[in-house]
């Protein structure tokens, strides 16, 4: 029983929070601001609790597994959710269904926790659905917005469709091996053609979830249409979780098929990067822009994954940590501006620096981190991904990846240019940035600067993986 409490602590805490919110909502309710503050405090506590007693073990006959790295990954996701609660305060406060939104988001988070911890394909599937379905509802949260419902529709359909494909893959795998346990699978995966086919179906499903080209088409629409908080959650938390579990699946279950997926991932990483970068070049909507940028970032994550080593795992986890800070900050700025002015086009950002220097610096920091420019942490994150990936790769691959860094810099600079350099007769007026958003942005900024320079964070991750 003790084991149970201890090992499943993250999931239990989240569940408790969900129920707490539910009771409050059912009860007499609270003011939006009070509710938000409560949620923020709860999530902070949740985040803090995550660091207690990170242990290794398994439950339910191997259905649920955890270890130090997994606990750490959950902490990262906790951190991300906590930051979201801070960063989008502006939008939350205006929302009618604050508690519901968080209930959905935390449910999805819960799903992700189970996803990361799953030791069995059934568990994997269940948690995957738990992680995905609430997001669709979150996407439709701005009920009156046309594009929101479109986004939600695309989200749910593509999610369901990819689940179908995933399940088909799983069923084939089951048929070929007779087991759905992660522990048993590696010993029976031999590389028969049926297994490879199963793998390809599984891979396609992951590609959907991670928006790897050519399964990325839903991403931009969903990001643009959904409320910014949802897009942020989708692009950071859910990407991170899926990346983690992707590593587990590839490294553990499909290790025998290494040669198959290695080349595939190399190819797709380059294609994903290129497509993400090239499409990002010409986006006018800042959210679409961030969508394509996150597609490109996934390309980089794939580079790290391709290394097939603990260094790769560490680099990906590290990158996700940095990505949480950077991308959330970028979304937060976009979200704050959107929620106060409704503007979300790159052109609207022209001359922003004259009126909102703080937001601009934060955005710049975030974008530089995304672009991988030192001294921001993004530099280290990208560099370690590439270094890890270069281990087995040839020069051409590394050169293409490195050149993609240059292209990506170009479009990040576009935003910087609009904010800092372009002249605008009527820039967005001076915005009131709520304290919690400010706090969140400063935490992000601190994270962006320090995560890279302070090397023990990476050392610790490397130690875990």
């Amino acid at each position: 029983m003790n084991d149970f409490l201890l090992l499943m602590k993250p999931e239990l805490v989240i569940s408790i929070i969900i129920f707490l919110l539910l009771f409050i909502k059912i009860g007499k309710g609270m003011s939006n601001a009070g509710m938000l503050l409560l949620i923020q405090v709860l999530l902070l506590i949740n985040f803090g609790l995550g660091f207690f007693k990170m242990e290794e073990g398994s439950l339910f006959g191997g259905l649920y597994k955890t270890d130090m790295l997994i606990a750490y990954q959950k902490n990262l996701l906790n951190l991300g959710v906590f930051l979201i609660s801070l960063l989008f305060a502006d939008w939350f406060k205006k929302s009618d269904h604050l508690a519901e939104f968080f209930m959905l988001m935390l449910s999805s988070l819960l799903g992700m926790f189970f996803l990361i911890s799953s030791g069995n394909l059934l568990m994997f599937y269940l948690s995957l659905e738990l992680a995905s379905i609430p997001v669709a509802a979150m996407a439709n949260f701005d009920l009156h917005k046309k594009i929101a419902s479109e986004a939600a529709m695309k989200m749910i359909l593509s999610s369901a469709f990819s689940s179908g494909i995933l399940l088909f893959g799983i069923s084939l795998l089951y048929g070929a091996t007779g087991t759905i346990s992660f522990d048993l699978l590696p010993s029976v995966v031999t590389g028969s053609s049926l297994q490879i086919m199963a793998f390809i179906f599984l891979f396609a499903a992951f590609a959907f979830k991670l928006s790897i080209v050519p399964f990325h088409l839903w991403t931009a629409d969903v990001y643009q249409g959904a409320p910014t908080a949802t897009s942020a959650f989708l692009s950071v938390i859910s990407k991170g979780a899926f990346a983690f579990v992707f590593i587990t699946v590839l490294y553990k279950i499909f290790q025998p098929l290494h040669t198959v997926w290695f080349n595939l991932i190399m190819l797709l990483s380059v294609v994903t990067m290129l497509v993400g970068n090239l499409f990002a070049l010409r986006q006018q909507s800042i959210k679409r822009f961030l969508a394509f940028s996150s597609i490109a970032q996934v390309g980089f994550i794939l580079v790290g994954i391709s290394s097939n080593s603990s260094a790769g795992t560490a680099a990906v986890v590290y990158f996700v940590l940095i990505y949480i800070f950077s991308n959330l900050a970028a979304f937060a700025v976009a979200g704050t501006i959107e929620s106060q002015t409704g503007k979300e086009s790159v052109n609207d950002y022209k001359g922003l620096y004259q009126t909102n220097p703080f937001l601009c610096w934060m955005m710049a920091l975030a974008l530089f981190s995304l672009a991988g420019v030192p001294p921001t942490a993004g530099f280290f994150g990208k560099l370690f991904l590439i270094t890890a990936g270069a281990q087995n790769a040839n020069y051409l691959f590394v050169i293409v990846v490195a050149l993609n860094l240059v292209i990506s810099l170009y479009y990040y600079l576009r935003i910087i240019r609009a904010m800092f350099m372009d002249k605008n007769e009527q820039p967005i007026q001076k915005l009131m940035v709520p304290a919690s958003v400010k706090l969140g942005l400063i935490i992000c900024a601190g994270g962006i600067v320090l995560t890279g320079l302070v090397s023990w964070i990476y050392d610790y991750i490397q130690l875990l993986s």
Binding site: N277, L278, F279, L281, R282, I407, Y410
Partner: protein, 612 residues
């Protein structure tokens, strides 16, 4: 032994004047700056004379041979074992001789300018520049290291640039100073590559070492230098030829002479100092310094001779047609330096004994400095008086400027080579050396010599006789003591310098060189010179139409000589049409459109792909 501190002071005092006046002159002592600079230079000159005296009469001679003494040497920049730029002082006869010439002329010019540039706005700046020039020139002649010489060579060039462009708001002055700098810079390129070649074989930059290693036919370095060849010409020849190009540029030898006439845009005392007496002979000095190495390559020595002779004749012809008095003097300078050059070129058949040509060349350098400075300063007095350079504004000035007139006449006689003036002695020696070694050059030289007498007296008569120029009454007099004293001193030098037994001091091998007069040989040149003078008297003493008739009868030739044989136009064509239009513009275009275009195309291509 010579005192190193003194020698250092000789060089550093003018530098001190430059720094002091350059930094603080305009603010703190504008009008007194001339006095300060002059006093500093006076001290420097005294030390220089003392050093020269000491060298010639006390410690310079060992066993009857003048030694090359390295007084001091500081490593300035060390490249590798043996290869280093040293800042040092090398004393030998030619250096000691230059130690007399340079500070003396400079001092005269300093004194002269006190009056000549009085009231000038940038008086202090002027003296600062003079200080810089004197410093560089002294550094040049004292150089113990070929790179040190290059160092000061360039400094001399730039101070000349600054002084020519002293009247910086005059477009012609700006153009002239740029031209002077760029043309000499072009020649310096040859010098630099020459240095690299020679030092590359000698494995040293030190003059003494280079001469030891390259002028000794048995030395392995010299053999390597002779053996190494490029386009069929030995490396040694390439090296000295390139060095000679450097010298030719500075000394305004054909075809690198085009800057010299234009350089007359500078203040006249500057022309006297730089473009007559000191800087322009740096090329001759350079060849003399490396004389033994030049001797190893006869083709180059012949080249030196022919170029010198041609320049002498060429300049003399042009000088006959010019109407700007300073330009006449400029071409005469070029012509005289041509004499010095070919004197060096015709000698050098062997290195074992003293060469008459070498001594003669140095002797002519010495005497020429005196009377050419005198001529320029005299011309300066004239210009100061009537505010024009043009002959047509002059005439009959002998009554107004008696001292100037007398000294000018002395100088004219000296340059024409009339006994007993200085030019006679040195020119005789040059002609004799040419006669002994190369008859062709001798005939050119003797003709040029006559021509010299002709154009100098043309100048003289046009200024001081001929018609009465209009409205002299209101002009001030001769410009006072400060202007007259240098004239008189220089005139005395021009009279007396010829009697110095020059050969016993300066010779190519350090041993005394007998230089007695060959009276029978002297007859022809003197008679020819007199013929020139008489012709000039006949044509120009009074205002007659004879000169115009003569010019008309030689129409085409006269015209082209008047236009300096269109050399300038050729240069303009080369720079504008070829360098600018065929190289510069395409390079700029290529960069803007092709190289940069590729970069932009890459960017645009990426953009296009993203637009699908």
């Amino acid at each position: 032994m010579p005192n190193a501190t003194y020698i250092l002071l000789i060089v550093l005092l003018p530098l001190a004047a430059f720094v002091l006046l350059g930094l603080f002159g305009r603010k703190y002592f504008n009008q007194s700056s001339g006095i300060i600079a002059t006093l500093l230079l006076l001290l420097s000159t005294a030390l220089a004379f003392y050093t020269a005296y000491g060298y010639f009469f006390e410690y310079g001679k060992v066993d009857g041979v003048y030694q090359k003494i390295v007084v001091f040497k500081y490593t300035w920049l060390s490249f590798s074992e043996g290869m280093s730029i040293d800042m040092g002082a090398l004393l030998d006869p030619i250096t000691a001789m230059m130690l007399v010439v340079v500070p003396f002329i400079s001092l005269m010019v300093h004194i002269y300018s006190l009056s000549y540039l009085k009231g000038e706005n940038r008086f202090a700046t002027y003296y600062a520049f003079l200080g810089l020039f004197t410093f560089s020139m002294l550094g040049l002649v004292l150089s113990s290291n070929i790179f040190q010489m290059y160092f000061f060579w360039e400094l001399v060039g730039v101070s000349s640039f600054l002084l020519i462009g002293f009247y910086y708001d005059k477009p012609s002055a700006v153009a002239a100073c740029k031209k002077a700098f760029i043309v000499t810079r072009f020649a310096d390129l040859g010098f630099l590559i020459g240095i690299l070649i020679l030092s590359g074989y000698a494995h040293s930059f030190d003059f003494i070492t280079i001469i030891q290693r390259l002028a000794e036919p048995e030395a392995k370095e010299a053999q390597a230098a002779i053996a190494g060849s490029f386009m069929g010409i030995s490396a040694l020849s390439w090296g000295v030829a390139l060095v000679f190009i450097g010298g030719a540029g500075k000394s305004a030898m054909f075809p690198l002479h085009i800057w010299l006439p234009d350089a007359m845009e500078g203040p006249t005392p500057v022309s006297a100092l730089i473009h007559a007496a000191t800087m322009v002979v740096a090329g001759v000095f350079l060849v003399a310094r490396l004389y033994h190495v030049f001797s190893m390559s006869h083709p180059v020595l012949n080249l030196v001779g022919y170029i010198g002779a041609f320049s002498a004749l060429f300049a003399a012809i042009i000088a006959c047609t010019q109407t700007d008095i300073k330009r006449v003097l400029a071409y005469s300078t070029m012509s005289q330096i041509g004499f010095m050059m070919f004197a060096l070129g015709v000698s050098g058949a062997n290195t074992n004994q003293g060469e008459l040509g070498f001594t003669a060349s140095m002797f002519h350098l010495f005497t020429h400095a005196m009377f050419k400075a005198l001529l320029f300063l005299g011309a300066g007095a004239v210009i100061h008086h009537i505010h024009s350079n043009e002959m047509k504004d002059m005439g009959g000035l002998r009554k107004h400027l008696p001292i100037t007139h007398a000294t000018f006449l002395i100088a004219c006689l000296a340059i024409s080579g009339i006994w007993p003036f200085a030019g006679f002695f040195s020119k005789e020696e040059i002609l004799l050396a040419a006669f002994e070694h190369n008859k062709a050059i001798f005939y050119v030289a003797i003709f040029t010599s006559a021509l010299t007498a002709f154009y100098m007296f043309r100048l003289y008569f046009k200024i001081f006789w001929n018609k009465e120029a209009q409205g002299h009454g209101e002009h001030h007099g001769e410009g006072g003591f400060a202007m007259m004293m240098p004239l008189v001193l220089l005139a005395m030098a021009a009279c007396a310098a010829g009697f110095i037994p020059f050969g016993s001091f300066v010779s190519s091998d350090g041993k005394p060189m007998p230089t007695e007069l060959h009276l029978t040989f002297s007859i022809a040149p003197v008679v020819l010179a007199l013929l020139g003078i008489v012709t000039a008297t006949w044509m120009y003493k009074t205002e007659t139409g004879k000169s115009a008739k003569l010019a008309a009868s030689l129409n085409g030739f006269y015209k082209s000589a008047y236009h300096k044989f269109y050399i300038d136009e050729i240069y303009v064509f080369i720079t504008n049409k070829i360098v600018f239009n065929l190289i510069g513009r395409p390079a700029a275009w290529f960069d803007k459109n092709v190289v940069d275009g590729m970069v932009n195309a890459t960017a645009e291509g990426t953009g296009l792909v993203s637009e699908k």
